[in-house]
Symmetry: C2
């Protein structure tokens, strides 16, 4: 009866598929519960396979977590490469980068949760993954080039480097996702409300553009 129905049990042996199944489920569980809070039995339950296979492929809970973390960083990096702003004037390029980052982060909340969890653990797992540390965010190179052009053109401050700018853009975007729950609970505002999205995306651009374009007059004591 079921043999002709679409691909649910088409695969009999599909190691890659099994790994992907486990990791997809584990990503959700780790992002939702944290490393200590996640339950291997729960993950196994939600997959099409068994706990034994988790250990067969990933060795340990930590091994699985690390695989999930690596995959999340890699996926995000892939998406980053979609942005090309080399043809735009620095001001517009910077705005585009910031607004793209904002959209990107607000639509990859599981990734942000994993990053926050990793920070609670003081990045101890990330430190173990040479692979993640290698795939240095491409956003930095893009930013470096934009900033160089803006500084050379005399329209950008020269005392904010690419990492500083990245920090500000990330801070703004990540905060809205990462701290949405306490913010809403205390102030009653849902920062991710669809009605606010356009305003907050624009504000991400305003924020970084406005601060970068304040070329300091020597008179102003700072």
């Amino acid at each position: 009866m079921a043999e002709n129905l679409p691909a649910v049990e088409v695969r009999k042996r599909d190691p890659e598929g099994t790994r992907r199944d486990i990791m997809a489920v584990a990503t959700v569980e780790f992002a939702n519960q944290g490393f200590a809070g996640a339950r291997v039995d729960k993950i196994a339950e939600d997959t099409a396979t068994t706990k034994r296979m988790i250990y067969y492929y990933f060795g340990s809970k930590e091994g699985l977590y690390l695989a999930v973390l690596e995959a999340a960083y890699e996926e995000v990096r892939l998406l980053e490469t979609n942005l090309n702003v080399d043809d735009l004037e620095p001001l517009l390029a910077l705005r585009q980068l910031a607004e793209f980052t904002y959209d990107h982060h607000t639509s990859h909340q599981a990734f942000i949760r994993l990053v926050q969890i990793e920070n609670i653990h003081r990045a101890e797992h990330l430190e173990k993954s040479q692979r993640i540390r290698d795939l240095n965010s491409t956003a930095i190179f893009t930013l470096e080039s934009i900033i160089k052009r803006g500084v050379d053109g005399g329209i950008f401050r020269s005392d904010i480097d690419a990492l500083d700018a990245h920090m500000m853009i990330s801070a703004y975007s990540i905060f809205q996702v990462a701290n949405q729950h306490t913010f809403k609970s205390i102030f009653g505002r849902d920062m991710l409300d669809a009605n606010l999205h356009d305003k907050y995306r624009r504000l991400a651009g305003d924020m970084i553009v406005d601060v970068m374009t304040q070329v300091l007059p020597p008179s102003q004591k700072k």
Copy 2:
């Protein structure tokens, strides 16, 4: 031999002291390990009293966590009231508030960790605490007054309200603490390095002042 030595076992019955002892230790443990990661036995071990007393006073692990969270929010609120910027012109007041917040957050890292942990839990514990939700940050009232003066004076944008401004200031300051570990691991920069503190405090002020003082000309398409 030990009877004349300073206050270690001075107290015989000191319920308040016992509570404080437990909470101080629990704050560290929860901030470091998260709720699921924290161990009641470990907390008991690090106090001068026993596990039984933790349950005597706090009922459960969650009860203790909630007490810790409430105390942390209250302490931070107390410190916020130290700031008085009513006499300053709005531009300087805003800068002072931002830079004060930056200093404040970078020197209360345990609190920030608790907030991040609470966000991982989608603020479910915070929701249970009417007490925390009541002590609405005084920073908001201060900000409201500053912004009103700035907007009335024609030097501030009128489309950014106090919560928006608070969000930007918090995002900047909290990010540097909350995400310091992944940031350092990936980019090699310690955002909390003492040598960078002055620069980053100033930048907190620049960021919010620059974005607020961009009064939009109608011609500029936004």
